[in-house]
């Protein structure tokens, strides 16, 4: 469970986050929409512990991120906007490395199954990541998140630059993860994808979470209209 209580972050005169209140429960997918600079990435960084809040708190499963950074990292998985990975290592080796870092010790077969689950074709598993396409790298990033068996998943613009097919495959995986009890926070520009996969959608403007809507209560076109009105 992801929870932000009056989460605030200021940089001098500028307010990046203004008293954000947000709770994402297990099995829930929450899409965060907003312009560049609205505060989406800042929110995610607070949950990741990459930024110290100026006020309020961010917590994962009731554990405050700011006070227990290393511990909370055990519960979360993160997929950054551009997944680069180590070009000289293969897909499996990258996965093995990151999952070992997370404390897991998987055999080659298990690792392969994670990659396949994420949609990466078998032939690519042992090839160097330096030769992967963006979509393929994204899938390794997803596999890393899956392998971590995390309670919370944080995504920053996950579908940017993906073709429609890969984007669709990605939505499938997200839904599966949510079904298994993971809380998902996804920052995105992709209004269509947000409506399609999320349970709830939030729109941020200038550090404030302006509106929160249930996805089933709104159509994609209406969502777009609301978005343009809000920001």
């Amino acid at each position: 469970m992801l929870q932000a209580k009056n989460l605030t972050k200021t940089y001098g005169e500028q307010t990046a986050l203004n008293s954000l209140n947000l709770t994402i429960n297990e099995g829930e997918i929450f899409a965060l929409l907003g312009q560049n600079g609205a505060g989406k990435t800042t929110t995610i960084n607070c949950f990741l512990g990459f930024i110290q809040p100026s006020g309020g708190s961010a917590s994962i499963n009731g554990v405050s991120v700011a006070e227990n950074a290393l511990e909370t990292k055990k519960y979360l998985a993160y997929i950054p906007e551009t997944v680069m990975l180590y070009p000289n290592l293969s897909g499996i080796e990258n996965l093995e490395f990151f999952s070992s870092l997370a404390g897991f010790s998987y055999g080659k077969d298990e690792l392969s199954s994670f990659l396949s689950k994420a949609g990466l074709q078998n032939t690519a598993h042992n090839q160097r990541v330096g030769g992967y396409s963006k979509g393929m790298r994204q899938k390794v990033g997803i596999a890393i998140a899956i392998a971590k068996k995390a309670k919370a998943l944080l995504l920053d613009e996950p579908t940017s630059g993906l073709d429609p097919k890969a984007s669709n495959e990605f939505s499938e995986i997200l839904r599966e993860l949510a079904q298994n009890g993971t809380a998902v926070l996804m920052a995105t520009h992709d209004i269509f994808r947000a409506k399609e996969v999320a349970n709830r959608i939030g729109i941020m403007k200038e550090g404030n979470l302006v509106s929160v809507i249930d996805a089933k209560d709104i159509s994609a076109n209406e969502l777009e209209k609301l978005y343009l009105q809000t920001v």
């Binding site: 930024i51 993160y78 000289n88």
Partner: protein
Amino acid sequence: MKNIRLLFKYEAIGLVRSRLFQVAIGLLMLVGLYAIYYGKSEIDQQRAVLKEIRADEEKKMESLRSKISTDTLPNVIGNRTFRLVENPPSDWASLSIGQRDIFPYQLYVRYYSLSRQIMTAEIANPEKLLTGNFDLAFVLIYIFPLFIIALSYNLISGEREGGTLSLLLSNPISESQITYIKIAFRWLLSFGIALFLIVLAVIICSININSTLLWWLLATALYFAFWMGIVLIINNLKRNSSFNAFSLLGAWIVIVIVVPTLINLYLASAYAAPPRNDLTQAIRHEFEEIWAKYDDKDHRYQTAQKLAAKYPAYKSDTSYNWEDKYMLAETDFYDERLAPLFAKYQNLNLQKESVGQKLSVLSAAALTQQVFNALAQTDTQNHYSFLDEVGRFHAEMKVFFYTKIFQNKTFKLTDFEQIPKYEFKKKPISNEANNGILLLLVSVIVVWGIGLMMRRFMADF
């Protein structure tokens, strides 16, 4: 910790597969091997020269022995006795040739005036002296830091620019941990290669293994630790890889190249080597005076008195062989008059060297070079110890022959065996090595102190 093993493993895999690393380590090995070969050949040449001269000494002494008959005068033998006083290179000299190419390392000593023998120089190609020696010390001091920089300039910035840093940090590991583990890995790798080269040199140059090896390795380890500290400091600035690359190289330029030359510039002006005109004029002038007063009877009488006062054991028997005895007495006083001048210049140089060593604390490279030279016994002080040995042995020879000459003895075959022969005795390693290593340790602590302090006060990632 398991994170350490994990990161080490993947750092190693990534490095081994990267082109830059393959090229860098290949070059490093090549350069290291050449340096070992070069150092060995230079020092072997010096040993060969000493061997040649020893053989020549044997030959000369053998032919001299054959000249001894029933009534041979000791001065006849003395005048033809050449004894080699040598300063052979130590085991480790192949690794740090130091000043051995600038200073002479042997002298044929006769019992005659020391002042007229001691100003010797080894002939050398000045261009070769100018460019210096490509020995293992050069590789360790100049090249290894470049290797470290090539490996470390994108320590964290590479991860950041490559996008993997955030992935890493989304795991239970902190940036500090990652930084220190990576630094430790690079230090171990560099030191490992250096260790390999040093051990290889020990084997190839047949160096006796004793505590000097440990000191050498310690100095190398500290020097590399110093550079890792610099890496830490630059890394803490959180700038991009290009900035890191040229900051680190800038640090290299300053520490390895600019600071030592600036120290030398300061020493050259503040402790300018005075012209030795007083010495060279005195050597010539005093000697001419001796010949000028050769026929002065009063002067001769006074000389005899002076000699008797100084050396009661030498009877100033002016009735027998007085011509030769007179000249020997004169040259003894001549040496006595000139000794302070020689000492003056020797002390000036030693003082300059000592000031230089103190100032070297400003450059870890200069410190390390000094330590290597001290351990290899190829530093300036070693040369002056050699000159002291020359003086000491010359005194021995002088006493031997002077006693026989002044006591009117004939030279017998049994006396021949008694002619002093110089036996080189190895000296213990000078304090400069310890001092240098201590100062290196201080540099490491300072640099790491700054690095660690910076991290304490650093902002968020």
